[in-house]
């Protein structure tokens, strides 16, 4: 069926522009809800396809990120239902919805935290940077890092956990002291 000429066709350029602006935030959203990085990445990719397929339903000028999140949440809940390989870290659907609502509620706050994180990352000394790179750039698990660093898994886990806590504190302090 041909779209009527009066109606504005969804344009690929519009979609790409909006996606480029909000992609990082959308990705954060999915990763926050799905703790398994590989699953989250699959969902983000699927989500981009669905967003494009449904882009004709998006009202230009409305909040793209809010719309995209709604679709992503649906994808996450759907993924949970259909995925076969899930026994270890099951996510309760009520839990996902509850956390999703919290992210929506504090979206602005979280965006500010994201900005502050970039500042805080730059202050990390070399050994901590290496750990963060192994974990998040090379995507190593705790076990992989333990082998590389010749440390026990428990030690690696605690070190990583403390770096995250230090970053989290740094972010909170940055925001508090700048009054944001």
């Amino acid at each position: 069926m041909n779209p009527s000429p009066e109606e504005k066709d969804p344009q690929p350029e519009d979609y790409l522009r909006l996606l480029a602006t909000h992609e990082r935030s959308l990705s954060n959203y999915v990763h926050s809800l799905v703790l398994n990085a590989a699953d989250a990445e699959d969902i983000v990719q699927e989500c981009k396809v669905v967003l494009w397929n449904k882009f004709d339903q998006f009202k230009p000028g409305s909040n793209f990120l809010a719309w995209a999140r709604k679709i992503a949440l649906h994808q996450i809940l759907n993924f949970r239902r259909t995925s076969q390989r899930r026994p270890l870290y099951p996510l309760d659907p009520d839990f996902i919805e509850s956390v999703a609502a919290e992210i929506d509620r504090s979206a602005a706050h979280l965006e500010r935290r994201s900005a502050a994180l970039k500042t805080c990352l730059k202050k990390l000394p070399a050994p901590q940077r290496q750990l963060i790179l192994w974990r998040y750039y090379e995507g190593d698990g705790i076990d992989g890092i333990a082998r590389k660093a010749k440390r026990t898994e428990g030690a690696v886990y605690r070190a990583l956990s403390r770096i995250r806590s230090a970053l989290n504190d740094c972010i909170s302090k940055t925001l508090n002291t700048t009054g944001s």
């Binding site: 703790l35 935290r113 994201s114 970039k118 730059k122 202050k123 995250r164 806590s165």
Partner: protein, 451 residues
Amino acid sequence: MTPEEQIERALEHRLNPDEWKRLQADIIADPELRAAYVERSWLHAQLTAEGPQLPELLNAEPTSPVKTRQRVRTVYWAAAAAAIAIVATLWISPNEQKEEWVATLVQAEDCRWAGSDLPTAEGAQLGKGKLALVEGMATLRFESGAEITLEAPSTLEVLSKMRCRLIEGSLVANVPDSAHGFTIDTEEMEVIDLGTRFGLTASGLGKTHLYVFDGVVEVEREDEARKRLVTGEALVHGIHAPVLDQEVERIATPIESEDGWLSIPTTFGNGKDAYVRQGDSDNETGDHPLLMVKSTDFVPTNVRHAYLAFDISQANPGSIADAELTLQVRSSGLGFSTLVPDSRFAVYGIADNSWDERSLLWENAPASNLEGVEKLAEFEIPKGSPVSQVSARSPELSSFIRNQPNGLVSFVVIRETGELEKQGLVHAFASKEHPTAQAPTLKLKMENDAL
């Protein structure tokens, strides 16, 4: 565990399924916890999502201070420096190893624990330390993949993900290929697994019993060459350790309680106790401190029956109103309770009192095939049960005793239930030679008018 720590563990999938389920429920219920969780999972997510840009972000020079924000930055730097100092200290601390998790308590149904310095709830993550299981059976999964089912009463020391020490008690180990080399120490030996399933019992008195259900293990002992055991092979270390040369303290008179019960142990008068094993043509057990009882369809030579005789010459048969047989349950140090069901025992009366405990063997024991004898009573010992004493009591028991003409009454105690696999538990009861436990005792309720 603080909420913060729970969240951190959740992010790295280091909570066990139950803890994770509980945390999710808590997060749904508690808005404050939910906000804290979202902040941390958002940070984790951003680091993951920023992954490809991280080298750039990390290596970039700190932006030059803006004049108006000088004071703020000083505060920030102090805070960041402090936080980083903590991280650095903990990262290089050499004492970290001792806090490492090495195993998970995957199953602990109906367990009772004593004096354990490790958490004992099902699902608990275990570091190094001791576990003392008083009742029940518990399964531990080591990080290496090795799985151990511990049977009460047992004390186990967890040493690393590849090593533990059985101080006392019994266990069955299932060791997958990933955990080749998994080692269990006992007082006497070191059992090194080469991919297998095996059972190990340590008595704590210098006796270790090892049986390989499937696979290969190696045994390292002091002053002996390393020994290799394969499927179906057993090694009993210290079984010929000298039997305690215990003087049996015979008692002069049966003990009479105020409520009219007369207690007659096998240590009284002409009382006697022993056990026979079908496969033994010597090795009389009259002076053995334990009476062993077993039934099996797999290895008939391992069937064991206990014989008891009580001197009832001090009791007027006509006035016996009730009777109860009491036995103290002790560890035999042989076999594994994992391999037996809840066990049911039966007490049969035997008319022949002439047996001699010093020469009693299967071949000369009265009614060893249970022909022509009457079942008088039953009792049960559930699997993994901590019971230390069992009693059998029935009208048939008192009636049988009343009809004994010679001042002696004899019983044979057998186990009616078998075993699920070879190497099932051998039950044991204290005999009159036992150094600490009460001897088998027959209690008779005497009618008042006869006293």
